[in-house]
Amino acid sequence: MSQDPPLLPPLALPGQPLAQSPPYTAGTGTHTQNSTSTITASIAGIPRAHTDMSISVTRPTASHPHSHPNPNPNPNPLLLPEVASAVLARVTRLNPRQATVEIFALQANHAGAEMGVCEHTFQGLIRAQDVRATERDRVKILDCFRVGDVVRAVVISLGDQSNYYLSTASNSLGVIVAHSDAGDPLHPINWRQMACARTGIVEERKVAKPI
């Protein structure tokens, strides 16, 4: 952003050449045209040259510049889970081998990306062997998640036709919001247990380390 050696237009349109590829690299919103090795804009937006010699094209806001009031807080229709992106997901179904979740927010894995709410939810799967990093063959799914929990996880694979495969095998990953059987909110007491402040009841979860 500091120096601006390639003369970038104030507004780039798809297909517009921006810079030559050898000195510069293609960032978000751009692609490199194979035949001429020219960095070309892929979306309409404001082109920027970064200090790491990458060129990106961004839209001014994450949301679409619609004039109508949006009910949701800026759902981004263009957010897609990719491998290694961090997601927030809600548990929808449990069976002894896996937990089915729906991904409702995710953070793209390029630098500086923020967690964004998806316009559509994506179905994900946390298999028993992906729940934690140790003793992965002794995981009991029912002692790790309950339906309705909100889980922080990482995408490990685009998965099969209908599911993204997620993993919670890290200290910072796991259940972040949970409710007891009675419906009271639970708070974490250690990495595998959560307790209810009102009744003192303790339930088992794979708990994410509070930030």
Partner: protein
């Protein structure tokens, strides 16, 4: 084929209202054969869609001018339905639909017919090459184009204009649909290699009572009919031919053209070439004309996207570049 699930109008038995000004009696403004008609294009008009555009051709000078009106809306990328197989790329589907009231003088059925299916297939073919489908795995991008008004007939049996020649109405609809859908894709912010613009060119024989198949003449930069040989009277290349125009088109070509990459995504030709040669030269000349038309349309798409952007920047109070629109202004020829 009747549609039993919806309330249809009576199949027969009512007489249509007659208005004083019919579309057929409108005088079409004279223009030179190489001048494109004025296009109205605006994006982001369908709020629920990710991106959308509206196109009107030509910009009407009076309310009764016959025009081609269509809207395109883009939804996605959204998750594929769970029954479909895994795909590492986005699946782009395009659907073109004529409104029942779109054709003058005759109501269309609601059910998808062969013409719509054909145009939809060609539209998705023309668009899929431009979209960076590899960026959106396991997702679907759906493009819906709805034709609200087609200025003339579509060459259906029954609304015949007579006089021979080929009907360019469908080609005009397809070219406009390509341009409009591409503007909608850009409006949605879906990554694409380039924008596709549609263009049509035709070999025109001016209607002087004596219709005969002649050779496709020199496309006139001069703009006039250029006689060429004995049998080639008054055959000239016309860009963006109007189906309401008072001339006979002997052959026509429609293209989808990506101007920045200089690539064609779709070529559609029809009509008869001269019987003496194999027609290669004429076809090339027609396609070149259609490309020239597409380049003109591309400028309009660029301007429409820029215009929408400036509006969006104004709304969120982010406008800081002073000369964003100034240097990009292009004039339509």
């Amino acid at each position: 084929m009747t549609d039993r699930r919806r309330i249809n109008g009576p199949p027969e038995g009512t007489t249509p209202l007659e208005f004083l000004t019919g579309f057929t009696h409108q005088s079409v403004i004279k223009r030179s054969p190489t001048t494109l008609r004025k296009i109205f294009l605006k994006t982001s008009l369908t709020p629920p869609a990710t991106g959308s555009a509206f196109l009107e051709l030509p910009t009407p000078s009076s309310p009764s001018t016959p025009t081609l009106k269509l809207t395109a809306s883009v939804y996605g990328p959204r998750p594929l339905p769970s029954a479909t197989a895994f795909s590492p790329n986005a699946r782009l589907t395009a659907e073109l639909k004529f409104s029942p009231f779109s054709t003058p003088g005759r109501r269309r059925g609601y059910i998808r017919d062969g013409v719509e299916r054909d145009l939809s297939a060609q539209l998705s073919l023309a668009l899929v090459k431009s979209v960076d489908v590899g960026k959106y795995p396991k997702s679907a991008i759906d493009v819906f184009v709805s034709v609200l008004d087609c200025e003339g007939g579509l060459g259906d049996p029954g609304d015949g204009k007579g006089g021979g020649g080929v009907e360019v109405g469908l080609m005009g609809v397809l070219a406009a649909a390509i341009s409009c859908a591409s503007a909608a894709i850009a409006d949605a912010g879906i990554e694409c290699f380039d924008l596709v613009a549609g263009g049509v060119a035709g070999a025109m024989l001016e209607r002087d009572g004596d219709v005969e198949v002649g050779r496709v003449g020199e496309g006139g930069d001069s703009g006039g009919a250029r006689p060429r040989g004995e049998h080639a009277r008054k055959v000239t290349l016309v860009l963006d031919p109007s189906p309401a125009g008072d001339y006979v088109i002997l052959a026509a070509a429609a293209v989808g053209y990506m101007a920045a990459k200089d690539e064609l995504t779709l070529v559609w030709t029809k009509g008869s070439m001269s019987p003496s040669s194999d027609g290669t030269e004429e076809t090339e000349r027609l396609i070149d004309g259609a490309i020239r038309a597409a380049i003109g349309v591309r400028l309009v798409i660029n301007e429409a996207i820029k215009e929408r952007w400036l509006l969006g920047l104004n709304e969120i109070g982010l406008i800081k570049e002073k000369g964003v629109g100034g240097d990009g202004d292009t004039a339509m020829d």
